[in-house]
């Protein structure tokens, strides 16, 4: 087991995402520190991929900007090692199967462990294909995070029963991105997850406002925000860290509020 459970040890968790290398790794490191200082309980670090098929336009553009700046998995491992001197919150990587496959799963997970990464989210690796990655993750003490979606229905029990770290509940159909409304029966999905596992579950996709985060965290164990943060970075570039920090603080307060209700 990794440190991920610590993220959920202190009330409802706020989970923040950032695309590494957008616009450069120095900015990403500043943003990560700002997130940690302002209460993010878990940080998802996106390793960019040329063709991120599960992402909406905001994160697609961030991936393209990061890659055009020449970021690679090795440079990201280096950044994480630096961050680990002072940043203690659990961190997971979010990337696509080919990035890991191309690096070599064993070498990739070994680097993850050495750098201080706690888990891995691969949106294009569903339950049926996780056997290729999960044993390697386990070997290096990383959690391979499972996702469930509004269409998962009869698959939720099976996925939750084998889940590690936390269960990532995809709130909506479609790709990542900010949404006005989340209509899926999150409560029902959470209930099914809890019937099958003791590990926490957090809701992501489409959350940008404190009220949404509070409501989603109220229904589960935490809220995940990606596109809204990436949009701040897209608007403010190298000067984003302070603004991201402010945003994270507001969101964390809303999520904590849900925990006290």
């Amino acid at each position: 087991m990794s440190r991920i459970h610590e993220a959920f040890g202190n009330g409802k968790a706020f989970i923040a995402f950032v695309t590494c290398g957008d616009p450069d790794l120095e900015t990403t490191a500043d943003v990560v520190r700002a997130m940690a200082e302002n209460g993010a309980d878990l940080i998802e670090l996106g390793i960019p991929f040329s063709d991120p098929t599960a992402e909406g336009p905001v994160i697609q553009s961030a991936n393209a900007r990061a890659l055009s700046g020449g970021v690679t998995a090795d440079r990201i491992f280096g950044m994480v090692r630096e961050l680990r001197r002072d940043v203690t919150v659990p961190m997971v990587f979010m990337t696509y199967a080919n990035v890991v496959f191309s690096y070599g799963p064993d070498r990739f997970m070994s680097e993850c462990r050495d750098a201080g990464i706690d888990g891995l989210i691969l949106p294009d690796v569903p339950y049926e294909e996780k056997g290729e990655f999960a044993p390697v993750c386990r070997k290096y003490g990383l959690d391979l995070i499972s996702m469930i979606a509004p269409t998962s229905e009869d698959r939720i029990s099976m996925i939750a029963a084998e889940a590690e770290g936390f269960v990532y509940i995809v709130s909506s159909m479609g790709v990542t991105g900010v949404r006005n409304e989340i209509t899926a029966d999150i409560g029902g999905m959470v209930e099914l997850v809890r019937r099958n596992t003791d590990i926490p579950c957090a809701v992501g996709f489409g959350i940008s406002e404190p009220e949404q985060a509070s409501r989603m965290a109220g229904l589960s164990d935490g809220a995940i925000v990606g596109s809204a943060i990436v949009r701040i970075i897209s608007d403010h570039g190298k000067d984003s860290a302070y603004r991201v920090g402010e945003y994270v603080k507001r969101m964390k307060d809303a999520v904590s509020e849900a925990g006290r209700r």
């Binding site: 909406g56 697609q60 996702m147």
Partner: protein, 395 residues
């Protein structure tokens, strides 16, 4: 590793969880309907009366004499309704989708042939249709864009990435995760997550079953070689499939080498790529050393794709099929050669296969038989080829 939908280690289902029940439902429905005689009858009737099957196997006498070696036959998929082999797969999938209660078809297209075929089937079956096409391809295949609109489809321009077939596939996948209840993703090639590579191959394998019958009638023996162009690989697998166990029949797939496999402007996946995971499958992909998918190039919009279907990856690995690169320049020469020699204007995709038979036929024996699949007709390419030759025909 999950063994479902695998060809050796290739294939699989590398897709977001949101789509898993959709592909499982599709697999179940396909299992049920493909064994249903009524479904088979309906599809056979559509193939015959609507698509115009069986397509002809034409003995290219002038070409044979001119090249002076193997006897060359052309499998005329270009004569199908909508002008290419794509209709075989689309009629099958549209009928299946209809039986599953879907009311909407979405699809990617490169050259526009698959988009036109999908729009056609949607019109025929009274379904809504949305086609995703890279903005670069929309420019180079304007006629097909108009045909799709004429048939009632909405054409969505995809500007992300390189604005070509790969990005159209990504966008169609994104759209499918957005709306699966009423929507079937009519994938155009033997690629993507299981069960698509199997379903598409089964619907396209009518090509090789017909070749077998027709060549036995014409020559009383199996061909020495079967040649087809390969992007994702649907006309090639359709042409190869019935002959895979006939190890005396050489199977050759012709990849788009663009400006050459020594340049970065190429789409020759087997020659320049390596195994990877993308678009729902494990297969060969053109990619950099970090696993980032390469921005490929070919004059042919239909072959301008950085991957290849997983069954081809397997046939390559066990050395059952050979994959050879053909450059833009060779393909354009072949495009012109077939037009002049046989009075047949081939699709620029198919011209890649013609180019290869032009290379190997002269070295073969006179009693050897070479079958080349002419996957589509070339009307759509005339303006682009004219431009390649420095001529503006005003399209």
């Amino acid at each position: 590793m999950n063994r479902k939908g695998r060809f050796g280690e290739y294939g699989g289902q590398y897709i977001p969880e949101t789509l898993m029940n959709a592909v499982i439902d599709l697999e179940t429905a396909y299992g049920r309907f493909s064994a249903d005689p009524e479904f088979r009858d309906e599809l056979d009737t559509l193939f015959r009366d609507y698509a115009g099957r069986p397509s002809r196997l034409y003995f290219a006498k002038k070409m044979t004499e001119d090249l002076g070696g193997a006897r060359i036959y052309l499998k005329r998929e270009d004569l199908n309704h909508t002008g290419s082999h794509k209709i075989n797969n689309v009629l099958g999938q549209a009928l299946l989708a209809k039986k599953m209660g879907k009311t909407r078809l979405i699809a990617e297209t490169g050259a526009g042939q698959h988009g036109v075929a999908t729009a056609t089937a949607a019109a025929l079956m009274g379904m809504e249709c949305r086609i995703f096409m890279g903005e670069e391809d929309i420019k180079r295949q304007a006629l097909n864009v108009y045909r799709m609109r004429l048939l009632g489809a909405t054409v969505v321009s995809v500007g992300s990435g390189t604005g070509t077939l790969k990005d159209a596939v990504s966008e169609a996948m994104r759209e499918w995760t957005n709306r699966v209840d009423d929507t079937h993703y009519c994938l155009g090639s033997v690629m993507g997550p299981h069960p698509f590579p199997t379903i598409v191959r089964d619907f396209q394998s009518v090509i090789s079953r017909e070749i077998r019958e027709q060549i036995m009638d014409a020559e009383g023996k199996l061909p020495s070689v079967i040649i087809a162009c390969v992007g994702g690989g649907s006309n090639a697998i359709g042409s190869f499939y019935d002959f895979i166990d006939d190890t005396g029949v050489r199977l050759i797939g012709c990849e788009a080498a663009g400006r050459g496999i020594g340049t970065i402007e190429t789409a020759a996946t087997m020659s320049t790529g390596r195994p990877g995971i993308f678009h729902g499958m494990k297969s060969y992909f053109c990619q950099d050393s970090h696993g980032q998918i390469a921005p490929v190039y070919s004059i042919s919009a239909g072959l301008d794709y950085p991957g290849i279907g997983p069954e081809h990856a397997w046939l390559h690995e066990i050395s059952r099929a050979e994959y050879v690169p053909v450059t833009d320049s060779e393909a354009v020469d072949a495009f012109e050669y077939l037009s002049r020699t046989e009075g047949i204007i081939p699709a620029i995709e198919s011209a890649h296969a013609i180019a290869h038979v032009m290379k190997i036929a002269p070295e073969m024996e006179k009693d050897d038989v070479a079958v080349v699949t002419l996957s589509g007709r070339g009307d759509k390419d005339c303006a682009a080829i004219a431009r390649y030759r420095g001529e503006d025909v005003g399209e």
